[in-house]
Amino acid sequence: MISTENTTTNEFPGHIEEVPGGGIVLSKLDELVNWARSNSLWPLTFATSCCGIEYMQVAGPKYDFSRFGFEVARATPRQADVIIIAGTIVNKMAPVLKRLYDQMADPKYVIAMGACAISGGPFFYNTYSVVKGADHVIPVDVYIPGCPPRPEALIHALITLQDKIKMGMTREQMKSGL
């Protein structure tokens, strides 16, 4: 029997109903959809500074985020599900980031990676050009502290995002009133 209690694991969200001659898999459609979505999140190829180097490492063979369903980094926002804000967002970049986010198809998710994307980080004080946190521009689902964060931290954030998706309604599900 597969447990349906804990949806934050990677297990299939359903159970097998035993009937004479075999069994039927029973599940909730929302949970099934969230399970599928969370295991196939395509990130956008987007990095604005040094966090991008760590991001590339995580995409590489040593850390390899494709093990968790992030394998296909997309070069266009129209095909991406998640945008990892890997680096400083400056005032000149902010409208570009907003536009990229707007071009992504729903459901879409945002990870703010590193101190700059969370709060401006080392550029919080005495800077004329830096946005003090990417969440001033677009909504953020998961924040990763660090300067830059370790690759393990990014993987943790990716898994946290998966858990978040599995746990409940997405932003667009809430909007449609499901």
């Binding site: 005032n91 004080y125 005495n126 004329y128 050009s129 003090k132």
Partner: protein, 151 residues
């Protein structure tokens, strides 16, 4: 070549120069009025033409500006630093973009961020900031109450 040897050679072609040997490279102090002539001499110096301007920047000392030019000779691989003091109220200096072509963009950047006017520059516009930007953000007295959080 050691900085001491460089100093001997350069003091011959630039008699007005002052020297400072605190850093890794030989620092040469020049007056703004002498700069274009000295720059031509350094560029066309026969045994050691300083033909590569690899860094051009400015320092705001609050009392004055200092233009800093890093030069390299690609024949002898020697590096020198030329420093030219500028008046903070009226920061003007002749362009060197006709001597070292790469200076054109460097000078636009310094104009953009420090407001130094490069006389006879072919295309002195803002480079990184938007065209309607007011002020020069790398000056020490720059104020921006909207974007800047003072510490």
């Amino acid at each position: 070549m050691s900085n001491e040897e460089l100093k001997t050679i350069i003091s011959e072609i630039l008699p007005n120069a002052s020297f400072e040997e605190t850093g890794e490279w030989l620092n040469i102090g020049l007056e703004a009025a002498d700069w274009i002539e000295s720059a031509n001499k350094l560029r066309n110096f026969e045994s050691m033409p300083f033909n590569f301007l690899f860094c051009l920047t400015c320092v705001d000392w609050k009392t004055h500006f200092t233009m800093v030019y890093h030069l390299r000779s690609t024949t002898t691989l020697d590096n020198i630093v030329v420093k030219v003091k500028l008046d903070r109220e009226k920061p003007e200096i002749i362009t060197v973009s006709d001597i070292w072509r790469g200076a054109e963009l460097f000078e636009r950047e310094v104009y953009d961020l420090f407001g130094v006017i490069f006389l006879e520059h072919p295309d002195l516009r803002r480079l990184l900031l938007t065209d309607d930007w007011v002020g020069y953000p790398l000056r020490k007295d720059y104020e921006d109450p909207i974007n800047m959080i003072k510490l």
